[in-house]
């Protein structure tokens, strides 16, 4: 049938309009393909890695050397001791592990397993330090040769401290060496580190047993280990976002396609009527016109899938670079390709079908002579409009006449606002928020964690240091835990403020961070049921205040009250906050870190976050640009006749533009304003679902900076887009309209 050529030719004639829809479909398919394939790749490789290299179910650190056989037999688990120590030199901290045989086995991606005098280092550190294989590295004053790049299943997210948000390979690395080398290097280990594999039925009994026999210093189940769980959280988070994000773009593009198709069909009414008059049947015409959605789907989806597929590999690598995760296998996820292909098809064909279905209800005579008169009869006659000046009235009437497309514009702007605001806020919260917290709330420069809770008479504390005590509790009825600090009353190291900026003093009740309060759904005066992680003892504790801290599952109490409530003697403590460096004997010290390390980490990671935000902002801006462009062009094309008449009457182009498209400003502002609370809601939901089952809380608060930045970018895009369609008004010649009117 020769008439099947009509759609492609029509698309060529209205190239930019259709290109915009094809691009929207391509973005949707690309977004889905890119995220789904790369996340599947990471997920698949992560699962392979954790299964094949026997990821631990937990680890613990004791002060005494345990009897492995007793534990294994009593609790039916596998257990393996690892030698573990830290080496610090030139501002770089190396965490050294002996290579284990059964649990947390090492995978070597480049080079070879180390022999005597050789080590493996983690990939992030290897790359950040620009090492080559066979380079030398100094560990605890002794030179070792780097034999390769190693990965540990329990260090997928290679952060130094449990509280860290981001890895800092410039200043922290994981080193793996033979057990014999580790023993030679450090004959007397101050603590004993064990990884276990196997399900423990009664974890409280397990911890309590270890604690009472060998002095438990730290116990971390896999689900609470940020070095493992962050990976799963980030992948799940990205996976959760993939489908809704792509679906949204597809739905918006389908709506726009519906509007464009209706316009094209209306513009071709006489041609379609003629086809009928020639003897073509509805089925023939339907088949021809369904080629519009077919081509849009084919061009858009295939382009998107190809772009997404080829970008998925580098994207997965880029994503993997945040983790210390090896690539063990290549995958080709057919199911995602098929989803990316057919998901847009459903919506695109549906919108095409609906656009045609309405038209086919017309009689051949109506098709031949047009339906303008019918449409005109449906013009809204809202009396309220008549109170305004003529130009404003016309502008409002145009807006209400095209209410569906104004709604799409609003939804598009809301979506772009959310996407852009999320990126901006993530940056603000993670970088500025935490930086601010560490300047305003946490005023110490060093934290020392000792390996026992006592009054430590051997340590002399100057007025630049304060002792603190610390216990970790599980929260009852919630899959999360809290670290409660006992700190000095009127502490100079930890300053807590409420929402209004008023300082909060600590007492025998607990002060908790805002994100944690949000996560638990508690407020001032509420009770929380907690259970000591080591002893299993239960307490009910009252929330005194909620402190405006941006991050952390933390609670704070007055030190002496803490000791009294939790059964410690007065003046006992486990750690020190200090503004100056303190020399503490290695046999007393469990671990230490400085605030500057954390801030350096955050700053060095800011660049990577900025890149991601850049991509999000670009997608958001492109979406807004395409949507505004297509809809504005449509409105102008549809109203050429009226524009010509207004020109003949003597209206200037600027006035005509305002009358015909002025309503867009209202829609833009409505979309943006509605986008602000929805952004907050979306971010809270996302953060709450991402951190639901893990010991991590963070609040993403909108800042004036992020709102203003988003507004400036979006309004710029909006104005550029409008400027680009404005030339269409100049091209409308009144004389042509007169001729058409005559026709």
């Amino acid at each position: 049938m020769v008439i099947k050529r009509i759609p492609l030719r029509t698309m060529k004639r209205n190239f930019f309009q259709f290109l915009s829809i094809i691009m929207l479909v391509a973005i949707a398919s690309m977004t889905y393909t890119l995220f789904a394939i790369s996340m599947e790749d990471i997920d698949h490789n992560y699962k392979m890695f954790k299964d094949d290299y026997i990821q631990e179910d937990g680890y613990f650190i004791t002060s005494g050397n345990i009897d492995e056989t007793i534990l294994k037999n009593k609790f039916g688990i596998d257990l393996e001791q690892r030698l573990y120590f830290e080496s610090q030199q030139d501002g770089i901290i190396l965490r050294v592990f002996s290579i284990s045989e059964r649990i947390n086995k090492v995978y070597v991606s480049e080079g070879k397993m180390p022999g005597a005098g050789e080590v493996l280092v983690d990939r992030g550190f290897f790359q950040a330090q620009k090492f080559s294989i066979n380079d030398e590295i100094s560990v605890y004053g002794k030179k070792f040769k780097i034999s390769g790049i190693g990965y540990l299943p329990d260090y997928i997210y290679a952060i130094k401290n449990d509280q860290d948000l981001l890895p800092n390979p410039e200043h922290f690395g994981v080193v793996m060496m033979l057990n014999s080398d580790a023993q030679k290097l450090f004959p007397a280990f101050p603590v004993n580190y064990y990884s276990y594999k196997g399900k423990v039925d009664n974890i409280d009994e397990f911890k309590s047993f270890i604690n009472s026999n060998w002095g438990l210093l730290k116990f971390v189940e896999k689900a609470q280990n940020p070095r493992i769980i962050y990976t799963e959280m980030k992948v799940e988070n990205a996976k959760d976002l993939t489908l809704p994000l792509s679906l949204f773009i597809i739905i918006v593009s389908s709506f726009i396609l519906f509007i464009v198709m209706r316009r094209i069909i209306n513009a071709m009414h006489a041609e379609i009527g003629t086809l009928y008059s020639m003897g073509y049947k509805q089925r023939d015409v339907f088949k021809v016109f369904m080629r519009f959605p077919l081509y849009i789907w084919l061009f858009g989806s295939f382009t998107g899938i190809l772009l997404g597929y080829f970008a998925a590999q580098p994207f997965a690598e880029y994503y993997r670079s945040f983790f210390s995760l090896p690539k063990l296998a290549n995958i080709f996820p057919w199911e995602h390709i098929l989803i990316a292909l057919f998901m847009p098809a459903i919506f695109i064909f549906l919108s095409g079908y609906l656009a045609l279905k309405n038209f086919f209800k017309l009689t051949i005579i109506q098709m031949l002579h047009g339906v303008d008169e019918i449409k005109f009869g449906k013009l809204p006659a809202i009396k309220l409009f008549d109170k305004f000046q003529f130009k404003t009235r016309i502008m409002l009437k145009y807006g209400s006449r095209h209410i569906a497309r104004e709604l799409i514009l609003i939804i598009g702007i809301i979506f772009s606002t959310i996407l852009m605001m999320y990126g901006m806020t993530a940056k603000d919260s993670v970088i500025s928020g935490i930086e601010r917290a560490y300047n305003e709330n946490f005023r110490y420069n060093y934290i020392y964690i000792l390996n026992s809770i006592s009054s430590h008479p051997e340590i002399k504390l100057g007025n630049y240091a304060e002792p603190y005590n610390l216990l970790t509790f599980d929260i009852q009825d919630a899959k999360t835990s809290i670290m409660i600090y006992g700190i000095k009353d009127n502490s100079d190291m930890i300053k807590l403020y409420d929402e209004k900026g008023k300082e909060i003093s600590v007492s025998d009740k607990i002060v908790i961070s805002k994100p944690f309060a949000n996560k638990l759904g508690v407020k001032d005066g509420d009770d929380i049921k907690i259970k000591n992680k080591f002893t299993g003892e239960e307490y009910i504790i009252k929330v005194h205040k909620v402190a405006n801290l941006p991050v952390g599952n933390n609670g704070y109490m007055e030190l002496q009250s803490f000791n009294k409530i939790f059964g410690y003697k007065q003046n006992e403590y486990v750690g020190i906050f200090s503004q100056q460096k303190i020399d503490i004997s290695m046999d007393l010290l469990f671990e230490s870190y400085t605030k500057s390390e954390l801030l350096t980490t955050i700053k060095s990671s800011a660049q990577d976050i900025s890149k991601t935000i850049g991509v999000m902002a670009f997608i958001a801006a492109l979406l807004a640009l395409l949507i505004v462009n297509v809809l504005s062009s449509l409105t102008l094309n549809e109203n050429k006749k009226n524009i010509g008449i207004l020109k003949m009457l003597g209206y200037k182009e600027n006035d005509i533009f305002k009358m015909v498209l002025g309503f867009n400003y209202i829609s833009f502002l409505t979309g943006f304003v509605a986008g602000i609370p929805l952004s907050k809601f979306a971010m809270d939901s996302l953060m709450s679902s991402a951190t639901k089952d893990i010991d991590f809380s963070m609040s993403l608060d909108l800042t004036l900076n992020s709102v203003l930045s988003t507004f400036i970018i979006l309004i710029a895009v909006f104005l550029i887009s409008r400027f680009s369609v404005r030339s269409k008004i100049a091209k409308v010649m009144p004389v042509e309209i007169l001729r058409e009117q005559m026709d």
Binding site: M1, V2, I3, R5, I6, P7, R9, T10, R13, M268, A270, E271, G273, T274, L275, Y276, S277, M278, G279, Y280, K281, T363, I364, I365, L368, D743
Partner: protein, 232 residues
């Protein structure tokens, strides 16, 4: 009789208002002749054109074309009737903008069981040299000749023309009329032309005058003149 209409009526309803566009109209047209339908706006010309073409339905009465009753046909059979029997020429050409001149004519030829040669028809209409152009690149006269080519290429028994010269200048109009006359002579096609232009009726075998949905005059034209001699 090629076309026989018996008591055709068509009523348009808009709310409570009823308009009788055709009121018990009966007539007969012979095969191979040219007829003009004339009358003022609202006289029922276009309504009759639509019903004869199978584009619209009558509310009462019967129409037989080549012995087949088209007024009782369902949509499917009406489409087949339009396909096999009727060629349309509209005032504003109604060419498919997305198809070239050749493809426009081809789109019609491909529906016919017994089409004429497309190149021959394009040559006959003197638009062969424009066959690869799109309609918007042609003058009004050329577009109307393509529209006639599209109507005639199906080799229909009946060509219905709705104001075929209404949008054309004098020279182009005369050319179009001559072509219609040539088609009638060469293929024996019955041609019915709706027009406001009384001069055109001079080239017709008979003229039917309508007013307010009724036939007020049906006159044969024994002094029929060739289309090239028609002037106005």
């Amino acid at each position: 009789m090629f076309v026989r209409a018996e008591n055709i009526s068509r009523i348009y309803r808009l709310g409570k208002n009823e308009t009788k566009a055709l009121n018990n109209v009966s007539f007969e047209f012979d095969k191979g002749k040219i007829y003009t339908l004339i009358g003022p706006s609202g006289s029922g010309k276009t309504t009759l054109f639509n019903i004869l073409g199978g584009l619209d339905r009558a509310d009462g009465g019967k129409i037989f074309v080549d012995g087949k009753e088209i007024t009782s046909m369902d949509q499917k059979r009406l489409a087949e009737y339009r396909r096999d029997y009727v060629g349309f020429v509209f005032q504003f050409y109604n060419l498919i903008n997305g198809l070239t001149v050749y493809e426009n004519v081809m789109s019609s030829a491909s529906l016919s069981k017994n089409p004429l040669n497309v190149d021959m028809v394009l040559n006959m209409m003197d638009v062969y040299s424009e066959k690869d152009k799109f309609p918007f690149g042609l003058s009004g006269g050329q577009q109307q000749r393509v529209a006639i080519a599209r109507a005639v290429v199906k080799n229909p028994s009946l060509i219905l023309c709705d104001e075929p010269t209404g949008a054309l200048d004098y020279e182009s109009s005369k050319l179009v009329l001559q072509l219609l006359e040539d088609i009638n002579r060469q293929f024996g096609t019955t041609i019915i032309v709706i027009t406001h232009n009384l001069a055109i009726s001079k080239m017709a075998d008979a003229t039917m005058r309508l007013r307010s949905g009724k036939i007020v005059e049906f006159s044969d034209n024994p002094q029929k003149i060739p289309a090239r001699e028609v002037t106005w």
